[in-house]
Amino acid sequence: MTQPAAPQEVWITGIGLVSSLGEGPAPHLAALAAPPAPVLDEAGFAPFPIHPLPALNLDAQIPKRGDQRQMEPWQRLGTYAAGLALDGAAARALVGDMHLLVAAGGGERDAALDEQVCAAIAGLPPAEAAVRLNEMLASGLRPTLFLAQLSNLLAGNVSIVHGVTGSSRTFMGEEAAGADAVRIAALRLAEGRGGIALAGGAYVAGRWDMLLAYSGAAGVLWRGPGSVPAAERQARGGGMVLGSGGAFLVLETAAYARARGTPGIARLTTIAATASRRRDADTALAAARRLAAPLLPRLAPGYAVVSAGTGIAAPHAAEQEFLAWLRDGGAAQGAVATTGDHIGHTVEAAFPASLALAALLVQAGRAPQALVSGFGMWRGEALALVEPIPESEA
């Protein structure tokens, strides 16, 4: 569904971005201009290459060690990135009435315990295995691990650590959750339900439990060198290279930002999302075209494209066709960047991360506009358009 005519303009005023390239805007903007060699861990989760987490000074964003201990890497990463966004927007004092929308998968399982249990009981008769399972879980699971696993506890930790308490909603559903978290945040601001929101997500790539969930399907996980870009992977059967990353955005109505004298990074002109069934005539390409139709007349020559795509064959092909259709239909297209080629595919964080890169591009004056396109690994199509905030308005 496309965002209806909105009475309130929405700006991106803060960005919290963490990936294997580092943290903050600088390394990411630099990578878009002159891509460095991607940072990869090819061995740790072989045969799957991943982009690992960078070293984080957790104390800087999660000052209480007790809070750090209550979380596993996924929640820590998200909470850390959320804090960077708040700092970037200079919005620490505004958290009491700030809306929070988080796109989440789940937290880390205790992989060692899983392996112990599998080894111990897989060969037992079912009734015996069931009893032994209870015994091993009841004595082996750490009580606090449950909270570190709960999907909504990334948001819970952002509330606890950073004090964001206006509201709290967690969306699940892979890439689509990331787009919808930002979309619903922007819609609520646009219709006057509050002035400021924090939206985003995080993903930790180095996780056997998640790799297991994705590994069953053919062509979803790439098993070759991680440095092969999406376009080349496509030609060799496709597949995604997962990346560790956290991406949060502070969104504000223009009026709210102006009133507190915040210049803003970019205007979020449009964000729209849908989900085609990807069968028969209900294709991802057709769905994306419908989302883009209202945007076509707005596109300015030289607009950049930031793809949040996966590199999985079918959605990647659909996205390429979509971008070609855009080129045929209107303004001259500028540079196309694929976020995953730089930081890996960050699943729930992929769309927010790509939106962050798009906002940085237009803020830096490298493009008159930037279009973010997202084609999820299984379902979900999303688009966003960001534009510079004219100096006279800021």
Binding site: A111, C118, I160, M172, L212, E381
Partner: protein
């Protein structure tokens, strides 16, 4: 005829379909009869062995298709099945059955992950006849070609299949706000209609987590009742001897429409959703701030969003989990919002169905609407020893006839996510 715009000029949101599945039964009629009779749906767990567990009772919904299956349905399968049953009932009531629903789907549900039956099946294949160590890479090798595992355990998989089945519009949203999840799904539907993004929304809360690991995890947090010898008496919200909640499962679905749209197509309006309020707490992962600020804020915000004063609320459908902490905090919220001596009756249907977690907010919104329609307040059963610290009319043990026009339904979750809804009479 009342206005189709509310006090803020927004479209009034009507409920035209309700569907329910709980341990008390399948369908609105069965549930309402059991609920007003004060019957408990809690029993000993029969789904799996409970040796080594501190808690051995739960609310369980037995799906017809699970008898005779080698591998039990996974939690996501249960969520999808119960959510679908509830949605079908709601859509039939609304006269919107078929494969084209004119609005989006909001599905409140628990997190998803590969579960033990699947993991152990892969481990057996990995071990072959040799036994011995099994590492994750071995499980992954054994999972090759298992598209069913991929699609079955995607976070967005359930909502996608339901969106396909019911033909809802746009991207379905799957969401979780812990124990407030079901209420959040309704809130998203209200907002989509109020902002004119849609004229209808299918809002579902569903839960299917009665399985060994989930039960043990809650147990390790000391959140569950251990009154195993008396399952039907274990869930005792507001009672002095309360000692934890009872895990349960089920689903509820509401068809929301703009009142204007519902009238235009001649649909029967079952009730109205007058308002919603939310507030997050920053105090602790499993406990509310002792000042009750977020709970009080969410209750007040919902009442204000409905354009009402506290005195206009006739009844409160409690979050009422039966944990010592929740019921104390909810009492604090009641006294702060309504004032001492001015609190309306409050009851907890969790005393009968247990805590349906991700479904609870939607189940309780459905029961709130039925309370209004039938003029009967369901009781809080197992209320044997009043807690002097809870000076509330909790409608103890026996249902009560009452004229109820407006209900506040509370949902408070782990992680500090609090959502309250105000439901109202159709006219």
């Amino acid at each position: 005829m009342s206005s189709t715009r509310d006090h803020l000029g927004r479209p009034v949101v009507a409920v035209t379909g309700i569907g329910l599945v709980t341990p008390l039964g399948v369908g609105v009629a069965e549930n309402w009869a059991a609920l007003t009779a004060g019957r408990s749906g809690i029993r000993r767990i029969t789904r799996f062995p409970t040796a080594h567990m501190k808690t051995t009772i739960a609310g369980q919904v037995d799906l017809p298709e699970e008898a005779g299956r080698a591998m039990p349905p996974s939690s996501p399968e249960r969520v999808e099945r119960m959510g679908t049953i509830a949605a079908e009932e709601a859509l039939a009531a609304a006269g919107l059955g078929g494969d084209r629903f004119p609005g989006p789907l909001f599905l409140g549900m628990p997190p998803v992950e590969v579960e033990w039956p699947q993991r152990l099946e892969l481990a057996r294949r990995a071990q072959g006849n040799t036994g011995g160590a099994v590492r994750y890479p071995d499980l992954i090798a054994a999972a090759e070609g298992r598209q069913d595992l991929f699609e079955g355990f995607l976070y967005g998989g359930i909502a996608e299949r339901m969106a396909d089945r019911f033909g809802t519009e746009g991207a379905p949203i799957s969401l979780t706000t812990a124990c407030a999840t079901g209420a959040s799904s309704i809130q998203l539907g209200i907002e989509a209609i109020q902002r004119g993004e849609a004229t209808a929304a299918l809002c579902i809360g569903a839960e299917g987590s009665v399985q060994p690991e989930a039960l043990i995890r809650f147990s390790l947090l000391s959140a569950l009742s251990t009154r195993n010898e008396e399952p039907t008496r274990a869930s005792r919200p507001f009672d002095k001897a309360r000692e934890g909640f009872v895990m349960s499962e089920g689903a509820a679905a509401l068809v929301l429409e703009s009142l204007e749209g519902a009238r235009a197509r001649g649909a029967e309006v079952l009730g109205l959703v007058l308002g919603a309020g939310e507030r997050a707490d920053s105090f602790h992962r499993t406990r509310s701030n002792p000042d009750g600020g977020a709970i009080i804020g969410a209750m007040r915000a919902a009442i204000a969003d409905a354009g009402l004063a506290p005195a206009e609320i006739d009844y409160v459908n409690a979050h009422g989990t039966g944990t010592p902490e929740n019921d104390k905090m909810e009492t604090l919220g009641m006294l702060a919002v309504f004032g001492e001596g001015a609190t309306p009756p409050i009851s907890s249907n969790k005393s009968m169905i247990g805590h349906t977690l991700s479904a609870a907010g939607a189940v309780e919104a459905a029961f709130s609407l039925l309370t209004i329609r039938h003029g009967v307040i369901p009781p809080t059963i197992n209320h044997e020893t009043p807690d002097p610290a809870i000076p509330l009319d909790v409608v103890p043990n026996v249902a009560r006839e009452a004229r109820v026009r407006r209900v506040l339904s509370n949902s408070f979750g782990f992680g500090g996510q609090n959502v309250c809804l105000v439901l109202g009479a159709a006219e």
